[in-house]
């Protein structure tokens, strides 16, 4: 994994499950490419594409519509997508939504059309999503904040 490659990270201590990230993606691409989940109503988190070094979604695509670029992004030439859903089944993180838009699977492009980077990160209401390199992420304390007496013993 390239140390200087920026990726989308989530600081669970801040995510309030407001789904602004999803709304931002939906607003730009008509269908959201970032999914949203929750664990028994207690922890909320968006599921963003990892842009894997060895992307299984791309390996599964029969038409090479999905490809890893030399800069470490996994991009989709959506014009050629036939909507066979192979990538959806292949992604080990369940990032790709099974619903198609215009018969095309919805794959995160890391907002390549926007100079300033991912929209989901820019819009995150609580600043939980971060677009940083692996090196920088180590400097952010994640999951190690002060003990709370919350009902769920969260964020210990």
């Amino acid at each position: 994994m390239e140390e200087n490659k920026k990726r989308i990270y989530l600081d669970l201590d801040y995510c309030i499950g407001c789904r602004s990230c999803e709304a931002a993606c939906k607003s730009a691409f008509s269908e959201s490419r970032i999914r949203y989940g929750e664990i028994s109503n207690t922890a909320y988190f968006p599921i963003a594409c990892r842009h894997c070094d060895e992307p299984l979604c791309a390996a599964a695509c029969p038409f090479e519509v999905l490809r890893a670029t030399e800069h470490g992004f996994v991009l989709q030439a959506s014009f050629h997508c036939v909507g066979c859903k192979s990538c959806i089944l292949a992604c080990p993180f369940g990032v790709l939504d099974k619903s198609l838009l215009h018969h095309v699977s919805q794959k995160c492009s890391e907002c390549k059309d926007r100079e300033a980077g991912p929209r989901c990160v820019a819009s995150c209401a609580s600043g939980a999503l971060k677009y940083v390199t692996e090196k920088e992420v180590k400097k952010i304390i994640i999951g190690k904040r002060f003990i709370s007496r919350s009902p769920f013993w969260r964020r210990q």
């Binding site: 407001c18 602004s20 999803e22 709304a23 939906k26 922890a43 209401a125 709370s148 919350s150």
Partner: protein
């Protein structure tokens, strides 16, 4: 193909937080592409937006935008519509006409509406935005309001109600404040466990509807400063009822005392109050006591009501209007707004016999319709001033007004030609509260809460991401406690029918510990769900009070 791209900056008008909002419009041939931009330099929101702001482009391009006036549900030409309205209005005297307005108007438009009312000699001018949060316009003279920096620097934060879903953008300053020091405290009071609970140091789960009583309890526990401000007599009254407050709220006295102690000992703090539709029994008391709690708390505590309203809201007096319509005194209503009458099904049904009923709208609604419907631009297509938590802000149009719409002033000028604009007449911003009256009301409220019934309480919960149904998934879901589910033999995703005095609806069961026993909770953003809740006229203020509903739940086989 030449592409012209333009970015417009404005202030998001959808809630009091007042985020900076930019929209990029590019032209590809005849095709307009609108994308929201995120300005990381902004001092208020650093580019962050909630779902409402994020979906600004889809609000402009909404497929349900109305593009032509309607008369009894049929399209009609603007010229004919306005001349007929103007003609028909002449049949009514000023006393027989009522003018209503909501938060889809700028301050300037509101002035125009008031001048219009003056020109027609209309006396009944009433707010048609009836959400319970408007009760925050009732206030005490010495409330100190929080600024953004007060929230960021707070040592103790008391959140009453689901503040995260009212304004998700508040989450960052609140959590920053909590994480800054291990002694900092975030308390949360609510009848259901919302997302705030997962972050709070302590979560006080009160019996549904009784939040105001807990606030009264806190005031009583605060001691010296409270005594000097509310007066010996009131203070003794509150002290006397402390035990029954705890019983009524279903919280132990110690727990209330703990929060009161933090409020007394820690400096710098914010009391954040948010009321949902159909969540609390007496929103006026909720508003009054949360503000009073700020006043009696020592050491630089501030108050913040992150409500959705961004207009001077005044007294709603809608109860008076309904009474006047029923007595035949008011025969015509002209509404300038978007929410009424659609979002208040119970009230609309009370107004069905009105002969003359005109309303502006930004999009086609489908419940009860007034006989005249006039399409107007949405706030995103207007220029003018709006109110935010941090002062007044100027909004700029992000797009051209939707085809076929006319602005409020164009409409008014056609109905009353040569109208004289009198910009000084402003709707009263605040209504002052009196401490003695509030305490008296609170004690009476306590009395009324003492007897408990076996009926099921139906609560409403709102969410910022449910905005206009765009990301709404849960409108058909109902939250129910496992114990109640067991009693009814319910499994997850079974069908459950809710019957209240006003309506009934079938939901999909969602069994969760996040609602207390004998309580179910439904999404209050959906219009159908809203019809389950009674809308009562408060006998003292004549405002509309939307409280939790009582009713029955039946398993559908």
């Amino acid at each position: 193909m030449n592409e012209i791209s333009k970015t417009t900056n404005t202030v998001c008008p959808f809630c009091l937080y007042g985020c900076d909002l930019s929209l990029n419009t590019s032209n590809r041939g005849d095709f307009l592409i609108r994308k929201v931009e995120y300005d990381s330099q902004s001092s208020i929101n650093q580019g962050r937006l909630c779902a409402r702001g994020n979906l600004a482009n889809s609000i402009i391009d909404d497929k349900k935008r109305l593009t032509s006036p309607l008369f009894n549900n049929k399209k009609i030409d603007w010229v004919i519509a306005l001349s007929q309205i103007s003609h028909q209005l002449k049949e009514y005297s000023g006393k027989e006409i009522a003018i209503t307005f909501d938060s889809n108007n700028t301050l300037e438009e509101l002035d125009t509406i008031l001048s219009f009312a003056n020109a027609l000699k209309v006396e009944t001018i009433v707010r048609s935005y009836l959400e319970p949060e408007t009760f925050f316009s009732y206030s005490f003279p010495d409330v100190k309001y929080a600024e953004l920096k007060d929230i960021e620097q707070a040592k103790v934060i008391l959140a009453i109600g689901d503040v995260f879903s009212k304004i998700p953008l508040l989450a960052k300053p609140i959590l920053d404040a909590k994480y800054r020091d291990r002694n900092n405290r975030l308390f949360y009071v609510d009848s259901v466990k919302s997302r705030v609970a997962g972050f709070a140091n302590r979560f006080l789960s009160v019996r549904p509807g009784t939040e105001p009583l807990l606030l009264l309890g806190l005031i009583g526990m605060i001691g010296k400063t409270a005594k000097s401000i509310i007066g010996d007599k009131n203070y003794n009254t509150v002290r006397k009822v402390l035990p029954s407050i705890a019983v009524c709220c279903g919280v132990s006295e110690n727990e209330i005392a703990d929060i009161a102690k933090s409020l007394t000992t820690l400096t710098n703090g914010v009391i954040l109050a948010a009321i949902d539709f159909g969540k609390t029994d007496d929103p006026l008391l909720f508003s009054a006591l949360s503000q009073l709690l700020q006043i009696v708390s020592p050491d630089n505590k501030r108050f913040c009501a992150p409500a959705l309203v961004s207009l001077p809201i005044g007294k709603n007096k809608f109860g008076e209007l309904i009474n006047s319509v029923n007595q035949g005194k008011v025969k015509a209503i002209i509404n300038f707004g978007d929410i009424f009458p659609d979002y208040y099904p119970i009230i609309s049904s009370k107004l069905q016999d009105l002969k003359f009923f005109t309303s502006t709208t930004t999009r086609l609604h489908n419940l009860t319709r007034p006989n005249w419907v006039l399409p107007v631009p949405s706030l995103l297509e207007k220029a003018g001033t709006i109110k935010t938590l941090w002062g007044k802000a100027n909004i700029k149009p992000l797009a051209k007004p939707v085809d076929g719409s006319k602005s409020i002033s164009e409409i008014i000028e056609k109905i009353v030609p040569d109208i004289e604009l009198t910009p000084k007449s402003r709707i009263n911003d605040k209504i002052m509260l009196n401490i003695d009256e509030v305490i008296e009301r609170a004690v009476n409220f306590l009395e009324s809460k003492k007897e408990s019934t076996n009926e099921i309480t139906i609560l409403g919960e709102e969410s910022a991401f449910g905005y206009r149904g765009m990301l709404l998934e849960q409108a058909n879901h109902i939250k129910i406690n496992p114990i109640n589910a067991e009693q009814l033999g319910l499994n997850q995703t079974d069908s459950l029918k809710v019957i209240t005095n006003t309506a009934e609806k079938v939901f999909i069961t969602n069994i969760t510990n996040f609602v207390p026993i004998n309580t179910v909770s439904v999404n209050a953003d959906s219009k159908e769900n809203r019809s389950l809740f009674p809308m009562l006229i408060d006998s003292i203020t004549n405002d509309i009070i939307i409280s939790p509903a009582k009713g029955k739940i039946v398993k559908i086989i």
